[in-house]
Symmetry: C2
Subunit: 329 residues, 2 copies
C-alpha cells in the first residue's frame, strides 16, 4: 500500500519551495506580512470544486493555475499588486502524490509568474471532491482602489483583451466535433481551450486603472451579466454595443460559422478580463497607457443616467438575449 505522507511531510515536500518570506518557509502556524505605509489591502477568496468548476480530468497543473488566477484577476481589476496567497486544499480519498506533485508544480508556476508567493495554508481530507480555496492579498495606494459601484453617467465602458474565448473553449471541450469547431485552425482551437484552462489575470493593467478608472471589476461570470451588476451597483443604466465587443480571430471564426455563439461569447463566463469605466476625456490616455502595458482596452458602451435601463445593442438596435439573466428586458 502506498505510503501516505503526513500533512507536515506534504508541506515540506510540495509547498515550502513556493513559500515567500511572509510564510516563514511555512514553518510557523500563521503567516506574517509586513505592513506597507500608505497602502490599503485588497483581499479576495474564491473556491473551486472538482466536477463543478473544473473537469476532474483536467491536468492538476491547470487546476492549480486556475485556482490562483481567478483570484488574481480580482486583484488585477482593482489595480492591486499581489502580496501573497493562502491555500486551503481539501483532498478526496483517491488523491495521489503524483497528482499533488503536479498540482504544486502548477501552483508554483502561477505564483512565480505573478509575483504572488504562498504565505500559508491548510490541507484537509474530504470524502467529497477536490476543493481548492485560495485567498489572495494585494495592496493599492491608500484610498485608491477602484470599486464596482463608481460608474458615472457619461463614462465610457471598456473591456480589456478579448471576450468570449473561454466560453467558446468550454463549448469546444463539450462538443469538439461541432460544425463550427471544424472551421478553426489548430492554433485557434488551442487559443480557445487555453483561455478556458489557463486564464491570464490582467495584473499588468494596474497602473492604468489606478490612474484613470472610475468603476472597475473583473469579468468572470459573463460580460453582459457582470456589466449589469456593475451598473446596478452604481445605480445607473447604460448601453453595451455587442458589435464593439473585442473578439479574437478564433472567436470571430467560430461566430462566422455559428452566429449563435456570439451570445455565448458575451454571456459565458471565465473571461478574467477587466471591465471598467472611464471619463470620455480620458479614454484615449487610458488606452495608450494600457497598450504600453501590453493590454488592449476596447470601448464597448456608455454609462447612462440613474433612470435609464441597461440595453444591449446589436446593429444599433436593442436585443434580448435568451440565456442568463437577460431574458426579461
Amino acid at each position: 500500500m502506498e505510503h501516505r505522507p503526513s500533512e507536515d511531510e506534504l508541506i515540506a515536500k510540495y509547498f515550502r519551495p513556493m513559500a515567500g518570506e511572509g510564510g516563514m518557509a511555512l514553518l510557523d502556524d500563521a503567516a506574517r506580512l509586513a505592513g506597507e505605509a500608505g497602502r490599503d489591502l485588497v483581499l479576495k477568496v474564491d473556491a473551486i470544486v472538482g466536477g463543478v468548476h473544473f473537469f476532474p480530468s483536467d491536468p492538476p497543473q491547470d487546476v492549480a493555475w486556475k485556482a490562483l488566477a481567478v483570484n488574481l484577476s480580482d486583484l488585477a481589476a482593482k489595480g492591486a499588486e499581489p502580496r501573497g496567497f493562502l491555500l486551503a486544499l481539501a483532498l478526496p480519498p483517491d488523491w495521489t502524490e503524483e497528482w499533488l506533485a503536479a498540482f504544486s508544480e502548477g501552483l508554483q508556476a502561477g505564483a512565480e509568474a505573478t509575483g504572488c508567493p504562498l504565505l500559508g495554508g491548510d490541507t484537509v481530507k474530504t470524502p467529497g471532491p477536490l476543493t481548492v480555496s485560495v485567498t489572495v492579498i494585494g495592496s493599492v495606494p491608500a484610498g485608491r482602489m477602484p470599486v464596482r459601484m463608481a460608474a458615472q453617467p457619461g463614462d465610457v465602458i471598456l473591456a480589456s483583451g478579448t471576450i468570449g474565448d473561454a466560453a467558446l473553449g468550454l463549448a469546444l471541450r463539450l462538443d469538439p466535433d461541432a460544425r463550427w469547431a471544424k472551421a478553426l485552425t489548430p492554433a485557434q482551437r488551442e487559443h480557445l481551450l487555453s483561455r478556458y484552462l489557463r486564464p491570464q489575470p490582467r495584473l499588468a493593467l494596474g497602473p492604468a486603472l489606478l490612474a484613470y478608472a472610475k468603476a472597475s471589476m473583473d469579468v468572470s461570470d459573463g460580460l453582459v451579466g457582470d456589466l449589469r451588476k456593475m451598473l446596478a451597483a452604481s445605480g445607473v443604466g447604460g448601453a453595451l454595443d455587442l458589435d464593439a465587443a473585442p473578439l479574437s480571430e478564433a472567436a470571430k471564426t467560430a461566430i462566422a460559422h455559428e452566429p449563435s455563439l456570439l451570445e455565448r461569447a458575451v454571456t459565458g463566463g471565465d473571461d478574467y478580463e477587466v471591465l471598467c469605466t472611464i471619463e470620455p476625456g480620458q479614454v484615449e490616455a487610458f488606452r495608450s497607457q494600457a497598450a504600453a502595458l501590453g493590454v488592449p482596452a476596447t470601448p464597448i458602451g456608455t454609462v447612462g443616467s440613474a433612470g435609464d435601463p441597461f440595453v444591449v445593442l446589436r446593429h444599433g438596435a436593442p436585443v434580448s438575449l435568451a440565456h442568463g439573466s437577460f431574458s426579461h428586458f
Copy 2:
C-alpha cells in the same frame, strides 16, 4: 419545490448584515482593508469539512462559530488583533435556507464577540459535504509577532486555561454512557461538551504575549504533539511535566474515574489554548498580566538545549505515550 435563492440573494440576506466597512457591505467583488502604519499583518486559513472536523448533526451555529474560532485561536497565539475574515462556503446538495440562516447567525455571533467582521466571501455548490474555509486577518505591532520557532534553552513553557476539555468532550459525545461519564455532574458534562463545540480563542491574552512571549502557538492538535512541534521548530529539546498540566474540575473528575483519560487529555486536539515560552525571570510578570486579562497561565515545563530530547514526565519520570506521535521515544 423550495425556491433556491441565488448567490447574490444569499449574500444580501445572510452575510451582508455581518459585513464590516472593509467589506463595503459585500457589494464589491474584492474587499478593501485600510493599511495601519507601523503594524504587520497576521494571516491564517483553516478549512473544516462535515463528517471530518465536525458532526454533520452539529448545530449550524456551532459549526460556524468553530470555523471562525479555530482561526482566531491562531491570531490569539500571535498576540494579534483581528481585522476581519473571508469565508469560502461550499454547500452540499441538501442545504436548506433554515440551515444557512442558523449558520450565519452563529457566524455573526462569533464575528461580534471577537470584533472580527466579515470582509468578503465566496459561496459555491459541492456534491460533497459542507466545507467551510475561513481566512482571518489580524495585525500586530511591526516586527513583534511571536513565532513558533523562538523557544530558547531555559525558557519556561506555559499553557493558558485548561487542557484536554475538548478531547474529553469529544469522548463524551462518542460514548455518553461511559462509566467515567456517569461520574460527571451535569455542569461538568456541559463544560466538556461546550469546550469541544464552541472553542473560545484566547484573544484577550495578546498584550501579555506581545510583552513577554518568546515562542507562541495555539494548541489545536494536542498539547504533547504541538509542544513537540514548537521545540523541533526551535531546534531544542525540553521537558513537559504532565502533573502540572492545567485541568478543569470536569477533566479531573473524569480522569479520577478513568486514569487513561489523562493521556487523551494531553494528546487529544481542539484545545485552542495558547502554548508559549517565557524567560524564567519574566514568568511571574507574564502570569500577572495574563491573570489581569482574565486568562490563567500555568507553567508546565522547561525548554532544554539543542542536543536534548523532548521528554514527557509523570511523577518525575519519563513516560511513553501510546497515542499520537509519541510512541517512538
